[in-house]
């Protein structure tokens, strides 16, 4: 099985009138790939996932942020819908933000390995996502950083070393927020340690880590020589 691999994403669009966060399915998604949707939405509003999506984890950040992070999963079907609409509530402020990601080799049935969230108060630019404990060598760590925009403020993040940004969504209007989702491959079991991103300005927000199980690496098939001598690579045939 190939190692876990991210290959496409799409940014969510909030429809205030319909109360939905809509994601387009990445064109490169193929049957049996796994879609993960990371959504940050006001805690006061219920979240309704469309058919075929399962909630892996959710973590609420209390006041003054009062937002909840959700991580949903879905296996790509033979005829995958062109878009996915999550019910998030009408006329929300701050508006929900989200990112849909397409992956190879994410386990499509395993429970979340671990998750944790930290509320960030406006005393620092540091957004430390709390450490989680990975159970498998091949576990994938997803990092979610969310900062409130404030009046016209559009914060950006510098990610921790070793993390790779998968996508970001910026909502510049007052009361919105900036969401950055990144991956971190520890390639070992145990605690990941707090992974801190640096925000461009002192801000309120949240930082979270999600440990997602991927399919394990397989043993390479091998041959054991008894007596040296066999036909190796061909010059004709196979």
């Amino acid at each position: 099985m190939p190692p876990v691999g991210f290959f496409a994403s799409s940014v969510g669009t909030y429809s205030s009138a319909n109360g939905t966060e809509i994601f387009l399915t990445p064109a490169a998604a193929r049957p049996n790939d796994v879609l993960l949707a990371a959504i940050v939405a006001p805690s006061s509003s219920p979240m309704v996932a469309p058919s075929g999506w399962s909630l892996m984890a959710s973590d609420a950040a209390g006041a003054p942020v009062s937002m909840t992070t959700y991580l949903f999963r879905r296996t790509v079907a033979q005829t995958e819908p062109a878009q996915h609409s999550f019910g998030v509530g009408l006329g929300l402020g701050p508006q929900p933000v989200g990112l849909l990601m397409a992956w190879h080799s994410v386990d499509n049935g395993a429970a979340i390995v671990a998750h944790g969230l930290a509320l960030v108060s406006p005393t620092s630019t540091a957004f430390p996502a709390p450490s989680i404990v990975l159970a498998h060598y091949s576990d994938l760590t997803l990092l979610v950083y969310y900062a409130e925009s404030g009046a016209g403020l559009t914060p950006t993040f510098v990610l921790p070393a070793g993390a790779t940004q998968l996508g970001a969504t910026v909502y510049a209007a007052s009361g919105g927020g900036t969401l950055v989702v990144a991956q971190y491959l520890k390639e070992a079991v145990g605690a990941t340690g707090a992974l801190s991103a640096t925000c461009s300005a002192t801000n309120t927000g949240l930082a979270a880590q999600y440990g997602v199980q991927a399919y394990p690496t397989l043993l390479a098939p091998s041959v054991i020589p008894d007596i040296p001598g066999a036909i190796g690579f061909p010059t004709i045939g196979v």
Binding site: Y137, E187, S222, P225, P228, A230
Partner: protein, 644 residues
Amino acid sequence: MTVPATLVLLRFDEPSNDVAPSDQIGSLYDLQIDTGLALPPVVSAFCGFGRQFSAGSALDAVDVVPGASLTTRDVTVQVLLSWDVFNQNVAGTLGTIVARGKGNAIAEYVAYGVELRVVNAALAIGEIRFFWQDTAGTVHTEAGGQFVVPPVGQFVMLTAVRHWVSGTDVELRYYAGDLLIGEFLTIDGDIGGGTTGTFCVGTRYTAGAAGNFLVGTIDELRVLNYELTAEEISATWGRIAKLQPRGYRAIRDLLPPGSPISDDPASRIQKLFRIVGHAIGYAAAQVENVRKNQMPDRAYGPVLAQWEGIVGEAPKAPDTVVTRRRRVIGHLRQHAGTSVPGVQAATADLLQLAASQVQVIAFDNTVREDWSLGLRAERWWADPTAKWTIAAAALRVQALSTDNILFDGTTRQWSTCFTSAPATRRSFTGQVLDGLQANLFVKVVPTSLPDKAEVGIAFYDWAAGNALLFGLRNNAGVYQLVTEGFRAWVSQGVTVQVVSALVTQWLNLAQLAPAGILPANMSHYQAAWSTTSELAGYTNSAAITHPTVFQYAGMYARGFSATLAGAVDVAFDDVILRTPFGPRPFRWYVYRDPTLPGTPDLVAAHAQIQRLKHAHTAATVITTKSLLADSPSSGADRGPCGAL
């Protein structure tokens, strides 16, 4: 297209350290060692001898014919090796299998390199990955495929495949044995390398210094300039790991129990059996390969090319094997001819859609327009544009009292909104009879029609100066339905068909089928009108003689004086134009909604329907229903253009 070839094949079968390893293909001079490096010693391996690489030992050679081992596009590196992942970890470096180029000059930029990385030594997890330099010398290390490394002494076949699609699109695949362990896309399509570069085995040079030495035994190594498929890799691995050992087993099983020969695998007789057994296994593998991989869904190499030749689906250089197979299969799946289900079945895979999502668009000879989609520039030629708008789902024409919209043949300031009225029929003299027997219905809703103004419908031959107008005019407060023909811009006179009122009119203008004797190139026309409804209450005019050919049909607003008594405001709706000899039924389209996921092969799908379509029709695959010049989505360069 590059001719598929093995560029380098190193068997490392030389029995002694004194004999320099040689390339079986002859692309390379015999391999040597650089100053300061050690010779990897000869050791026993799975297929005869191999070379044991370690820190400080490596081999290299240059091409006999410069460029013989160079490829900056597709490449497959396949190696049979035993990797000592633990000592590689102790060495603390990457383990290089091969690097084509030393990297320190343009001619030595690495065109392809494959290396091993220790991911987790405790769990014996390793990774194989590509690296290369671009034409500026920047090193690009690509994502790799990971695998659990077998214990030292066991041999694994690793394969790294690079398929170059474009300068920003490269596919990478990695295999361990017959397992796909990694599949990635990269944008690093700019690949450097020179013909005089050095082929390095077991090391990689940085700033002229050898490093990243491999710790392990290479049994065999080959480099190909094409994309090895999973099926071919699986067949090779199946032969080495299963069928050849089974051949040997078969020979042993043929012997009567208790035969007076040694069972010792190292005995001379067992070695002889092994030779024969492996030969049988080799032959069995070829048969098995034919059995498994002869059909187009798994074919590769010359067999796939033969399939392509049979069905006439020529590949393009950047096509993947998967793409080429899909085309052949799409061709073979044709059934039900040009029926909608048949077209859907033949193109669905190529378009990466379910059959039900493939839209087949075809037309009859009637154009219907209710303006619900606006004033579509693909269909309507509104002139001047500013005078024509869409209001309340109808086409609206307006003119100010100060506007001069005179049309009298000599002055042609009128406002028109025309569409084409083509025909495929020709006269005996070869003239294309555009407009032949066309029939135009339009609902006219006049809101404001001042004195000296007229609105209506017309057939128009702009090039010849011929026009036949049928409209409602205000003639000093009297509303009249009139017809007027122009030939070479000269009026043939106004005929008042009826005195009407400023009310909704349903107007119809039609060229009649030939009857009676007429001058050459002339036809009879008939105007009809109703104030009741679209379907009832019509009164027909007497036959009107007018030139047969015209290219345009549509609506107009004109003045029959240069000065209007007020503003014009009239709406047109429910337009129906039938051109019974038009070409519309001979054009059809396969529409692929671009918002749906998937990576369609539009070129192949287009080629597919060229084979399906009837000879008298034209068909194309499109991803937009509007014609946009120079947009590949509209098929503008393939024709027929657009789908409206």
